[in-house]
């Protein structure tokens, strides 16, 4: 029982971070119908930014979020403007290839700058943990979880309570109607893509803290993020959170209670069941453009 609860704690903490990464993917899909294959590499970029700031300027990785988030926003905004916007009329077909090309390109740039060694960020509190009622709660994971939840809440408020958020949701649902009301849909799309990349930037700085990474880490990441998206329902924020927690929880539980070799199996079995029984995902709606 002790092990079971310990595994649940670790799973939930990991799930929060994955939820943050996935929320960006959900946002870009929700607004632009674009499956952003570069989300994983954006996370890795955030990790390298945290790594660089920590090793050369001794800035705490949690503080480096303040740098990685706007930087990734700028990268996302620029890439959307120069590479994705020109495809807009054919976006549904070509964006998958284009964002994948972005991912490979950024991976190449990262390999060139940082090499292909595995990197890790080692802070003084890296290996500390709080003991609460006999359970070990790793400080880094707990902080990453709390911060992820805070950013997710912030994103939710931004999307539901502000004029910008309203216009993002409006463009995602009826682009032509939004245009008739004076919304600059191109700019909204670029901002939304930038925002999606920015969540990856924030998540990336924390990802670098909880696990080691190399430029190729994004292949594993994007696979997981897409699976989370599909199980939760593409474009659904609640689904992204639920999917992320289900993934992390099932992995952690199976790893501890059964065997690590089987840790991914239940999630992917569930993925197949969902695809057959409920193709729109657990929280997905068939209606176009729901966020």
């Amino acid at each position: 029982m002790h092990l079971f609860i310990q595994a649940i704690i670790l799973g939930v903490l990991t799930g929060g971070l994955y939820a943050l990464m996935t929320s960006g993917l959900t946002l870009t899909f929700g607004t632009m119908r674009i499956i952003n294959m570069a989300q994983g590499v954006f996370v890795v970029c955030g990790a390298y930014i945290g790594f660089t700031l920590f090793n050369y300027l001794h800035i705490d990785p949690f503080l480096s979020i303040l740098v990685s988030t706007p930087l990734l926003f700028a990268i996302g905004f620029t890439l959307q403007t120069f590479l994705l916007k020109p495809l807009r009329h054919d976006a549904h077909r070509l964006s998958l290839l284009m964002t994948w090309a972005m991912a490979i390109g950024l991976e190449g740039i990262l390999s060139f700058i940082f090499g292909t060694d595995f990197r890790g960020i080692l802070t003084t509190y890296q290996n500390s943990s709080w003991t609460i009622a006999g359970y070990e709660i790793p400080v880094v994971r707990a902080l990453a979880f709390l911060l992820s939840v805070a950013i997710l809440v912030g994103m939710y408020l931004l999307l539901t309570r502000t004029k910008f958020g309203r216009s993002v949701r409006a463009v995602s649902q009826r682009e032509s109607a939004a245009k008739l009301l004076g919304v600059n849909t191109d700019r909204t799309a670029a901002l939304a893509f930038g925002l999606g990349a920015a969540t990856a930037g924030a998540a990336g700085a924390m990802f670098g803290l909880v696990s080691s990474f190399d430029p190729a880490s994004h292949y594993d990441l994007i696979g997981r993020l897409l699976a989370i998206c599909v199980i939760g329902g593409l474009g659904s924020n609640a689904g992204a959170i639920a999917g992320a927690v289900i993934l992390a929880l099932s992995e952690s539980l199976v790893q501890a209670e059964l065997s690590p070799a089987w840790s991914s199996v239940p999630f992917y079995v569930l993925l197949i069941i969902v695809l057959i029984a409920r193709p729109q995902g657990l929280f997905g709606v068939r209606a176009r453009g729901a966020i």
Binding site: A178, L180, G182, A287, A290
Partner: protein, 253 residues
């Protein structure tokens, strides 16, 4: 006659062909003008040319003497022309209230947007009733009312209404026409495109018949209702016209 919107020899269309071939029309201020004519005549295309959704190849569109052709949709919106398109244009998972606020998107002052939205809520009971509901959950007629209310957020000079009664039951249709009449009585110039020509002529002040991209007849609505040729060609025989050009109305990008 005091002309609000002047359309002169407008030629326009889509990538693969010309739809408007020199359309000329004067839309009187503070009145409701309806455009009738067979499918494919270019009625919706004219509205899209006015609101800047498609380019005007030649000719002029003047709002109180100011040229609209060549402006962006947003500039035309700022000039006071609001287009309510034919297909459903509410954002289905935004609440009715949020949809209303979206109508004031180009206004920078958020408190002004709220003030106008609250004023409209006073006027339209439908808004009050469904304030928090998703717009997509309303009936077709209710959605039309919200669309018009949303168009009024900018306190426009001109409202372009494209087939507002399409797909509605008779009771909702009456409600939609009543709303439009009230709008024109409140001093808004309305340009209405209608398939249901007889009902449209009954509520309108002014009217024009569009055929093959040009205005064939322009007159007071009451006169057109009494015109035997119009009656034969466009009021009684609209079904036949419909069959002649079944796909043309779907020509849009």
């Amino acid at each position: 006659m005091d002309t609000c919107l002047e359309i002169r020899q407008v030629v326009s269309g889509y990538g693969y062909g010309t739809v408007l071939r020199g359309a000329t029309l004067s839309v009187p201020r503070h009145e409701m003008t309806c455009l009738i004519g067979p499918n494919g005549a270019g009625k919706s295309t004219l509205l899209r040319a006015i609101s800047g959704l498609i380019a005007v190849q030649s000719g002029e569109i003047l709002l109180d003497g100011m040229a609209l052709q060549g402006l962006t949709p947003r500039q035309i919106l700022e000039a006071g022309v609001v287009h309510v398109p034919q297909d459903r244009s509410l954002f289905p998972t935004l609440s009715v209230w949020e949809n209303l606020l979206m109508g004031g998107y180009i206004i920078r002052d958020n408190s002004e947007v709220r003030r106008r939205a609250l004023a409209l809520e006073e006027r339209f009971p439908t808004i009050r009733q469904f304030h928090h509901s998703h717009a997509g959950s309303l009936s077709g007629g209710q959605q039309r009312i919200i669309e018009f209310a949303r168009a009024l957020m900018l306190e426009p000079k001109v409202v372009l209404a494209d087939e507002p009664s399409l797909g509605l039951d008779p009771k909702s249709r009456t409600l939609v026409f009543e709303t439009l009449t009230t709008m024109s009585r409140d001093g808004i110039t309305v340009l209405l495109v209608e398939q249901n020509a007889r009902s449209a002529l009954r509520v309108s002040d002014h009217a024009a018949v569009l055929e093959l991209g040009t205005v064939r007849i322009e007159d007071r609505a009451a006169n057109l209702l009494d015109n035997p040729e119009v009656g034969r060609l466009y009021l009684g025989a609209s079904a036949a016209a419909h069959r002649r050009l079944p796909h043309a109305e779907h020509v849009r990008t």
